[in-house]
């Protein structure tokens, strides 16, 4: 590789300059193969390849290009300036069909980055509903990761800064793909990937598909987010960027809570200081009663990291740096080789000094309206997060094919220190009443490694296209050594101590999840004429295998006898003289039977095949019909606690828990109303399948939330243990008008019906702890409208032409039939004057999402700047009923400012300045009762931050 780079470098620095461009059909945005590019002054020329791309080596100077193709208008591009050793990329050059006899059109070359416009064109010409955001927009709106970027897309909201919701439908209904192949989640509790792990400099664009087509996987309903990583470039890239982000309330804060991690924490992984002590995974660990000697118990307990609480230290601001290199070379007359390499590093420091969490309940008395608290927590939470990402890609292009090999690794480590005051009220049912001082230490390590090999081969003058992909993704999530230590406080000012029935005993937990995913996909496209108009036949298939291993190991600190006298400092506990065998009586007790019911292994085999046809029955109507078949088999290995203890409980050994062959029809109609307007109509059937964890007998105590998750296969109460997939019918109608470069207006209506949707249901019979189970609830439906406008204000006055507005609004109503059990629980807790219905909103469904931007773009000054606003309506996030009130996330008014300025010679330097959370709004989730004030489920404020970034392109 090094040799190739060196040898091709010689070509790159030759006397001549390079001119590149892509010829596309203005109307369809499809590339044109075989167009002639002719330089009049030199009499030289070339033709475009199957990608519509061309390249010419020219002496420095100014040229005029003539581009022609049969039945298209010839265009002339003037003032194209070629400089020695440089690459000039003209981007997409649009040819219009020569419907009327016109002279050639003359355009003047200007340096336009075309990707955002390309997304727009793709959007306009796609047979189905797509939206997207390109790399160009990332810098414009000043975002550093994919999660931030997606917030700006119509109908998209991002939960907790990382989970993508499309049209307000929960993440269960959103699918994430990387380079058009499925990619696993990094969260055992979620179906979709945490999108914030992708730094924007590795992304070329993100396309959100909202209506299904046969070649896409059937398991989405809101949308598919396809992240396309950067491709090898048309022109050489040597970019370096650096940015700092300062939050006056969070950074250089001497109260920042931290603890001593490992010496590789700065690289996003733990080098071993948080590792499970050796021997701790045996079912029989040394304890005072295990038969081991006291020295063995002492040696074992000593292996646990003695830090049980954080200490204060001053933190630094956020910063990030990235480096991207890329280029392409001519290998022989028709072959090209390109490479891309990108490295990124980001360090974030977050500090909340008033982080609040609450557990509230309804009062039994129907005349008592106020919510009463069971537990309230408030305190300080500090997080340090490191993200290291690297991508390298190699692409090879011949006359009739191109091949791409990409390898990517993302590594993220997040270290958290917390200190909370816990107030438990005995007035709440099932609660004993206490106060406690709690210390939390957590570390979460996530990584994804992805290899993709992609080939596209053209046959028969590009009439046949064969596109194949094969990808391997290894993902891993580890939470090593989550430590929680809560001193129960005295009522009379005496020393604190540990009380099992109050704040609990110190505990620590290790949680592991590993997943491997093999995805293979083949798509064959045949272009032909039907009814004398172009048509496309597509068929293909895919094979996906994924397997997940999950395990939680927990340990409880115990005293073999009375507790020593404590002062309330977490560092005074695991000291030598307190340990069993060291003069004290502390030891660890295992919470892990063998086999472990808090562990499972699941795998999925998914075969899919499809056929679709895109054609025009008459000129103004584009029809895209398809049928997809998916054979999906999920197997599970796991057991419940009764089996684990040796009893006759439930045990599954690689047994099928979901097995189905389903057909998914889809139809997309697009009427060309003329004048760059489309009217679209779509229907599709899609599916939402229960996750690995949901189809299990797992009983998982989540250390972070203290909630117990029960697998959906358990029969509990009225639930029969038969958890099935959800089938969804999707109907879409959209009108859209494209008005010019980056200008458009659209309006859509959508309607979806859900058969047996799955929700995480709170188990009503359990009142002392929080237990949940995924269940199919009653049928549901969602209907909504979307509106989008992007317009330059130039139509008001020419002087305002650099100002623009962009806005999109999504309004949704959802309704779900309550299960009998839920309705009864709600009815039983009905307040006086309240009338409980048997329908409610779907969990996770936002009633509205609004994005708005007011921008000033001036290419001549190299300046683009804007204010961006984003809000999502009050959303049901946790379904209550009975004793437990519903939880709603509250609207968060996000207003950000961003400015980019290019300067220096040819704008090689650019400076970015941004302010986030200008309104200083808090993120709140509230319990809502009837006829009473809301109470806090969670509340924190990210505060205002100012960021400055600098980028230099060599």
């Amino acid at each position: 590789m090094l040799f190739l780079v060196c040898s091709f470098s010689i070509n790159a620095f030759a006397q001549k300059g390079t001119l590149r461009g892509t010829i596309i059909d203005d109307e369809t945005a499809e590339t044109i193969f075989g167009a002639t590019i002719y330089i009049q002054s030199t009499g030289t020329g070339t033709t475009s390849d199957f990608d519509g791309k061309f390249e010419l080596q020219l002496d420095p100077g100014e040229y005029t290009l003539r581009i022609s193709y049969i039945s298209y208008q010839t265009i002339e591009i003037q003032n194209v300036e070629i400089k020695e050793g440089e690459v000039i990329n003209l981007g997409n050059i649009r040819l219009n069909l020569a419907i009327t006899e016109l002279d050639g059109v003359v355009v003047t070359s200007q340096r336009v980055t075309i990707s955002e416009a390309a997304i727009m064109t793709a959007k306009m010409n796609s047979p189905n509903l797509v939206d997207g955001i390109s790399a160009e927009a990332f810098s414009k709106i000043g975002v550093s990761d994919a999660a931030e970027a997606l917030k700006k897309v119509i109908g998209v909201s991002v939960e907790e800064g990382k989970y993508v919701y499309v049209r307000g439908l929960g993440d269960r209904y959103t699918q994430t793909m990387l380079n058009s192949v499925e990619i696993p989640s990094l969260d055992p509790d979620r179906n979709s990937l945490q999108i914030d792990i992708f730094p924007t400099n590795l992304i070329n664009n993100m396309v959100i598909t909202k209506t299904a087509v046969a070649e896409m996987p059937a398991n989405f309903t809101g949308g598919v987010v396809d992240i396309e990583t950067i491709d090898f470039p048309q022109e050489p890239i040597y970019d370096f960027s650096l940015s700092f982000d300062y939050n006056p309330d969070m950074h250089f804060n001497s109260n920042f809570l931290t603890y001593d991690g490992s010496n590789t924490d700065f690289l996003g992984f733990d080098s071993g200081t948080r590792e499970l002590p050796s021997g701790a995974d045996n079912s029989d660990i040394p304890t005072p009663i295990s038969g081991n000697s006291s020295q063995e118990v002492y040696d074992f307990v000593s292996k646990f990291n003695p830090a049980l609480g954080p200490y204060s230290s001053t933190n630094f601001a956020n910063y990030s740096a990235s480096l991207t290199l890329g280029n392409q070379y001519k290998v022989s007359s028709d072959n090209k080789l390109g490479y891309i390499m990108s490295l990124t590093y980001r360090s974030l420091s977050t500090h909340y000094n008033n982080y609040q969490l609450g557990e509230y309940q309804n009062q039994p008395d129907p005349a008592a309206y106020d919510l009463i608290y069971a537990t309230r927590q408030n305190g300080t939470l500090s997080e340090e997060s490191v993200l290291l990402g690297g991508l390298s890609g190699l692409a090879f292009k011949t006359e009739n094919s191109k091949y791409k090999l990409t390898a990517m690794h993302l590594q993220n480590g997040e270290s958290t220190g917390g200190n909370f005051f816990i107030n438990n009220s005995e007035s709440a049912p099932g609660q004993s009443g206490y106060t406690a001082d709690s210390y939390n230490l957590e570390y979460s390590q996530r990584s994804i490694t992805n290899f993709l090999l992609n080939g596209v081969n053209y046959f028969n003058n590009t009439n046949w296209e064969v596109n194949w992909r094969s990808a391997v993704t290894l993902s891993s999530m580890t939470d090593p050594d989550i430590r929680k230590t809560a001193y129960t406080l005295s009522l009379t000012g005496a020393d604190p101590r540990f009380n099992a029935g109050a704040g609990g005993f110190p505990s620590r937990i290790w949680r592991y999840m590993d997943e491997v995913n093999y995805a293979n996909r083949l798509d064959i496209t045949r272009e032909y004429d039907l009814f004398d108009l172009p048509a496309k036949l597509k068929f293909g298939g895919s094979y996906v295998y994924k397997e997940r291993d999950f395990e939680i190991l927990s340990y409880n600190l115990q005293f073999f006898g009375s507790q020593p006298d404590f002062e309330g400092d977490p560092s005074e506990i695991l000291v030598d003289e307190n340990l069993y065998g060291g003069g004290g009586n502390i030891y660890y007790q295992s919470g892990n039977p063998d086999p472990n019911p808090n562990a499972y292994n699941s795998n999925v085999v998914n075969y899919a095949g499809y056929i679709s046809n895109e054609f025009n029955p008459f000129e103004k109507l584009n029809v895209y019909v398809g049928l997809r078949a998916e054979q999906y088999t999920l197997r599970h290995t796991g057991r419940d606690a009764l089996f684990a203890q040796g009893g006759s409980g439930n045990n599954l050994d690689n047994e099928k828990v979901l097995d189905g062959l389903d057909l998914f029809p889809s139809t997309n109609l697009s009427f060309d109303l003329g004048d760059d307007q489309n009217l679209r109509l779509a229907y599709s059937k899609t599916i939402a399948r229960p996750s690995f964890k949901e189809l299990s007998f797992a009983q998982i105590l989540d250390p972070v939330s203290d909630r117990i998750f029960n697998g959906g296969l358990f029969e509990i109460g009225g639930w029969d243990g038969n958890l099935t997939e959800t089938f969804i019918n999707n109907y879409d109608l959209r009108w859209e008008k494209y008005m010019g470069l980056n200008e458009m207006i659209s309006a859509s209506l959508f309607y979806k019906t859900f058969q047996d949707p799955i929700e995480i249901v709170r188990i009503q019979v359990q009142q002392t702890s929080s237990e949940f189970q995924p269940r199919n609830v009653g049928d549901g439906q969602v209907y909504g409208a979307e509106f989008e406008l992007r317009k330059s204000l130039g139509f008001i006055s020419e002087s305002l032409r650099h100002f623009g507005i962009s806005t999109n609004v999504t309004l949704v109503r959802s309704e779900i039939d309550m299960t009998e059990q839920e309705f009864r629980a709600r009815k039983n807790s009905e307040k006086e004057g309240q009338n409980v219905n048997d329908t409610r909103n779907m969990a996770g469904q936002a009633p509205y999402i609004l994005n708005a931007g007011f921008t000033y773009d001036n290419l001549d000054l190299g300046l683009d700047t804007g204010f961006y606003y984003n809000i999502k309506g009050e959303t049901l996030t946790a379904v209550g009923g009975g004793l437990f009130p519903d939880v709603y996330s509250q609207p968060y008014h996000s207003l950000n400012f961003n400015m980019n300025k290019n300067f220096g010679e040819e704008g090689k330097s650019s400076l970015n300045f941004s302010i986030t959370n200008i309104l200083d709004d808090s993120r709140n989730e509230f319990y809502q009762g009837f006829n009473t004030a809301d109470e806090i489920f969670s509340s924190y404020n990210e505060r205002r931050s100012i960021s400055i970034g600098y980028k230099y392109s060599f």
Binding site: G591, Q645, G717, S769, S829
Partner: protein, 510 residues
């Protein structure tokens, strides 16, 4: 030549005869050539005294099976199945009933049709410890002289009866979280655990070296664990169909909820119903020790949990020692309980919830770590006539109890005849024990619930009002010492308890 021919024939005849004879001899002596039978004993197994175990010997009998005989050491053995006569292979099943602890032997001799024999000896390790790892679904008796080890959370399921004979020792394996061990008596199941003052039933940890022989000998205390070692296993949970006040009920369904500490995936944890006179059986003279392990945050197992237990159930003479959570906790129900001693509880000693409508009579509480009495009321729209606690003696000091009585506006209890002593002072000499700040709310109740008849030994320099805060001091009579008191528990009832036998009661003057 004739002679030669004749000789040749003669020799041929003789030779042939010889051959024929020798062949005949071969045939007739064939049994001698069959291989002797082979007998294979199974690997050593575990057995329990008086519990028959089946031992299967694998045999092959070349000469055809004829018979077997068995002899046994440390037990009796009978053959219960054998191959049919003449069979070349098969198995012989022996039922062995151990008679004494130690090594049991079963010697099987197999004979073939020729009288050839072979033998093999199976070894049975006989002890008196039974591992219980599955739920109890049929009539089961745990027999005296044995130790039963709970291998996990063992439920006596609805319809089943578990009888535990006096003198039995039950031990929970160690564990926390989903690994915690407990004995759970589900609704519609019955437990008959009737110990006696001379043969109590002991529930403890596997770490406890106490044996049924110790119990026989009158040594009811742990030979190796201190009475402050807690959290080694779970506890005993009894559930029934009596009314509870746990949530609102619009009349069309029975109120039932899941007991604290048991995940709802185990439906054996449901309790509550409409049958006030329900019986879960009878529990007398049991001592529960070293339990209360953590199942989830703030979710531990009490020493004895009584959820929706009906008045038909007998619960008497209960000792709970060193439980990491509460000593005894009631969740509704109507059961009456007498003679309870709670020593070194890690949380509250006596805890009531969900409108328990019964009486607790004669209680001794020694050194609770949280409130000796944490008393609550209805949690749903069902209310009862409340519960009664009477004749209690409370030694406060030792583990840090601060609130001596924890009641609030919702508490539905009548308390009378309490004797408090061992009250603590802090480093400044001030009272270190108080009454819940919600006591005035409780006292203002309109249902007639009250706390009356308290006597207390007040440290010198302090007054009843320093300890019995919120106005309860008006019900308190100071006494110079417990011997001067006229109220409190009859401590002599607790002679059988570990607390008494260890001297812990006498050391505080009881």
């Amino acid at each position: 030549m004739n002679f030669k021919v004749t000789l040749t024939y003669l020799a041929g005849f003789m030779l042939t005869s010889l051959l024929l004879i020798s062949c005949g001899e071969d045939n007739s002596s064939g049994t001698e050539q069959f291989e002797a039978p082979s007998v294979e004993a199974p690997e050593a197994t575990n057995g329990i005294v008086d519990e028959p175990v089946e031992i299967t010997f694998t045999i092959s009998v070349d000469g055809g099976y004829a018979s077997s005989s068995v002899t046994a050491g440390n037990g009796t053995a009978t053959i219960i199945s054998e191959p049919s006569a003449g069979a070349k292979s098969g198995s012989v099943v022996v039922e062995f009933t151990p008679t004494a602890v130690g090594t049991g032997t079963v010697d099987l001799v197999v004979a073939d049709g020729d009288g050839q024999t072979e033998d093999a000896t199976a070894v049975v390790n006989i002890n008196n410890t039974v591992l219980v790892s599955d739920n109890i679904t049929s009539e089961t008796t745990w027999r005296d002289g044995r130790t039963y080890v709970l291998g996990g959370r063992i439920a006596v399921e609805a319809g089943a009866t578990l009888t535990i004979e006096a003198g039995v020792v039950v031990k929970g394996q160690a564990g926390t979280g989903s690994n915690a061990t407990a004995l759970l008596v589900a609704r519609d199941a019955t437990i008959n655990a009737n110990g006696t003052a001379t043969q109590p039933i002991i529930f403890t940890s596997v770490a406890d070296e106490i044996t049924p022989e110790d119990v026989d000998a009158g040594n009811f205390g742990s030979p190796n664990l201190d009475p402050d070692v807690s959290g080694l296993w779970g506890g005993v949970i009894v559930l029934g169909n009596a009314p509870i006040s746990a949530q609102n009920d619009n009349g069309d369904d029975v109120t039932e909820v899941q007991i604290e500490g048991i995940p709802s995936s185990d439906s054996n944890g449901l309790y509550g119903g409409n049958d006030a006179s329900d019986s879960s059986g009878s529990i007398t003279f049991i001592s529960i020790r070293h339990g209360g392990s953590n199942i989830g945050e703030g979710n531990e197992i009490n020493g004895l949990t009584l959820g929706g237990v009906g008045s038909g159930t007998v619960v008497e003479n209960i000792e709970v020692v060193a439980n990491q959570d509460d000593g005894v906790e009631w969740f509704g129900g109507t059961v009456n309980v007498t003679n309870v001693l709670v020593w070194n509880s890690g949380d509250d000693a006596i805890d009531t919830d969900q409108a328990w409508a019964g009486t607790l009579d004669n209680v001794v509480i020694v050194s609770a770590a949280d409130s000796p009495f944490e008393l609550d009321g209805p949690e749903g729209n069902y209310t009862s006539s409340g519960h009664t606690i009477t004749n209690a003696t409370i030694y406060v000091k030792g583990n840090g109890a601060e609130e001596m009585i924890d009641v609030d506006a919702n508490t539905d209890v009548n308390i009378s005849n309490l004797l408090f002593f061992g009250l603590a002072t802090d480093e400044n000499g001030n009272a270190a024990n108080i009454i819940s700040s919600d006591y005035p709310d409780y006292a203002a109740n309109t249902n007639g619930y009250s706390i009356i008849g308290i006597q207390a030994v007040i440290p010198s320099g302090l007054t009843a009002a320093d300890y019995f805060t919120g106005g309860l001091d008006s019900e308190v009579t100071e006494v110079a010492g417990i011997s001067n008191a006229t109220v409190g528990a009859d401590a002599s009832i607790f002679g059988w308890t570990w607390a008494n036998l260890s001297g812990a009661l006498s050391s505080i003057g009881l």
